[in-house]
Symmetry: C2
């Protein structure tokens, strides 16, 4: 494996860490960040860890005008034995490059990205919260930074990683959410950017999300943009249903995001011998299964919540209550197993978790060390 | 009309102005910019003109992650009599707010925006190029600036206007472009963000644009995302065809951007008594008209090029040469009339142009004057 030189400048002033009970998702950031620059002449260069700080950009920078951005989201967990574990980070960086492709952004070196991430976590290791169900949320992202108003792929980019300690997604154990089927707005369509994790997809989802919130639902269930009848995904999660003993989830179709949690769940279910199918699922089929008493469970899957059981599904002015609004058996078992593996409490038969080796002391004074990590 | 107080800080160091022949689109910016801040607690506030400068943002700012951005594009022209004219700026700010709506961004006050623009142009008036066919390109835009990684409408925004002197779009008079019909990628679909001028739409267009460029075409002609057969628009332009004496253009359908040039052309053609229809147009119909020798003209319409005659249309490995690859009569007449009105050379029977009044001297020293403009 190539080792990369990452220049490290440590922060002299350390921020106060929030108390575990007060952790809010994505509002607090650690003391450092990783940055890598790109210019079309020299490629990716100048890998560095620096104190967390503002980015200064020309107002004509492409990111402000033409939305060329991609991001990823994953988590680091502290085990009981104080090891730091990442969950399938290779998958995130692979998807990152798939997103980059779609947006005409140059590939990053996935090994460098993983090494940079490990090293950044080592530097900010004290920021990983210890309380049960907490974690360190990791946000790698790329922005286009050329100062030019022409609609063209940018000639300059920055790849950045920031870290945010996050609390438990569920205050008191798994608790089902209510979601509403979206009939007016469309998230993505084949030939568009639905399979990429790019900013524009999230901006376009806000309006539906807002209207759903006003009706008392926490997320929307997206239907396909062509026939407006096939189920796609939920907010920032993929969706699964258990119908008459079989687990089903929408197939990869060129418009949904292929979640890493989704992928892992498919593998787990198959490992357990639970019947599971990836296929087209119409909203009418779900309704029919509900009417027939065969809609046994529904759950969203994603990095933030891991598993989000769906207790109520709203469609065309009708409410479908699923499993009496309670967390289903499969949902609970998947949640327990996945979070168990992620936090090191359960054995990992799939080779999913990756340990961030602990390293020696980072001097808390400003330094310009070249540090190589294994 | 309300007058707004806009705080003006003039730049002490003036940049060198590029020579007219060397002007490139969107690469050079004037000495000043306009900024207006928004926070959910106090609304839009702190309108100010300041020296053109970098923006400093937290790396967790929403704009870098969830693409909540909208923009506009329009031009100011210097007339032979040294008047400064804007072309239908009210329409741009109206569309701006329509885009804001779709992206859950708070409305701006359209009067304030226009006054701010006028005043910014007054401050940077010397930057408006004088040579024939040059203009000052105006880029108003909004970015989301809250430091928060949750997918939700941002609580903070900045509305910014920057100005860029631009050269002639055509080096030697109107010259037809070659475009290719896009079969793989989709720009937008009803229920998505196609009608809004938001960054994500442009990011998603780059890949098709790039592939089209590799085949020697300068823009792509988008088809609808549902049936993949109806014509939508071209790159950053709307599209018109003249078939058997009638001018046709795709109707407003929830996925194309309603161009202000398109709107103006429809008005002009109707004023002239030329038969014109807004309706669904399939690519097969265009092909058939071509085969029948009835495809007389095709042209794109947008702020940058005003009119871009289409000399060649490529679809499914076949080339359709339109009007022998020459600029058609209607295209030429529309171009001459529109640019004539825009530059003050022709009378404006529609009340489209808005003059930016010239004002007294702006002291070139740093100042904090409150200036009211009429
Ligand atoms: C649109 C969308 N779908 C699905 C997912 C789930 O993906 P993952 O399981 O990799 O977190 C996410 C979150 O990343 C998402 O944003
Ligand atoms: C996608 C798209 N369509 C059409 C247009 C033409 O609009 P207008 O005539 O207002 O410039 C533009 C340019 O603004 C555009 O970006």
């Amino acid at each position: 494996m190539t080792t990369y030189n990452i220049n490290v400048t440590l922060s002299t002033a350390k921020k106060e860490k929030p108390q575990a009970e007060k952790l809010q998702f994505g509002k607090t950031f650690t003391d450092h960040m990783f940055i890598l620059d790109y210019s079309v002449d020299i490629g990716w260069h100048d890998a560095r860890i620096i104190p967390y700080q503002n980015i200064s950009l020309d107002p004509a920078s492409a990111i402000f005008h033409y939305g060329q951005s991609v991001f990823e989201g994953l988590k680091a967990y502290l085990t009981k034995k104080e090891q730091v574990l990442l969950f399938r980070p290779d998958q995130n960086f692979k998807r990152f490059n798939q997103s980059n492709d779609r947006l005409c952004i140059p590939h990053i070196d996935e090994d460098l990205a993983l090494q940079a991430l490990k090293q950044l976590i080592q530097v900010d290791r004290e920021w990983i919260p210890k309380a049960a169900d907490t974690s360190l949320y990791i946000r790698p992202f790329i922005i286009s930074t050329e100062s030019y108003l022409g609609v063209a792929p940018s000639t300059h980019y920055q790849f950045i990683i920031i870290l945010s300690p996050v609390g438990s997604y569920y205050k008191e154990g798994l608790s089902p959410i209510k979601i509403s089927v979206e009939n007016e707005f469309v998230r993505a369509v084949a030939g568009g950017t639905g399979t990429a994790k790019t900013g524009g997809n999230y901006a376009s989802s806000l309006k539906a999300q807002q209207q759903s919130g006003e009706k008392g639902y926490s997320q929307v269930l997206w239907l396909d943009g062509v026939e407006r009848k096939y189920i796609e995904e939920v907010g920032s999660m993929n969706i699964f249903f258990k119908i008459d003993g079989e687990v089903v989830t929408p197939m990869i179709n060129g418009s949904i995001l292929e979640g890493i949690t989704r992928k892992s769940i498919l593998q787990l279910l198959r490992y357990w011998g639970v019947p599971v199918t990836e296929r087209r699922i119409s909203i009418d089929e779900i309704k029919q299964a509900y009417v027939d008493g065969k809609l046994e469970e529904a759950f969203g899957t994603g990095t933030a919540a891991v598993i989000a059981p769906v207790g109520e599904l709203f469609w065309n002015n009708e409410k479908m209550t699923i499993n009496n609004g309670q967390t289903g058996e499969v949902s609970q078992k998947l949640y327990d197993t996945l979070t168990g593996i992620q936090t090191g409490a359960l054995e990992d038969p799939f080779g999913w978790v990756v340990e961030v080796p602990s390293i020696k002391y980072f001097s808390p004074i400003e330094s310009q060390d070249m540090i190589e990590i294994p």
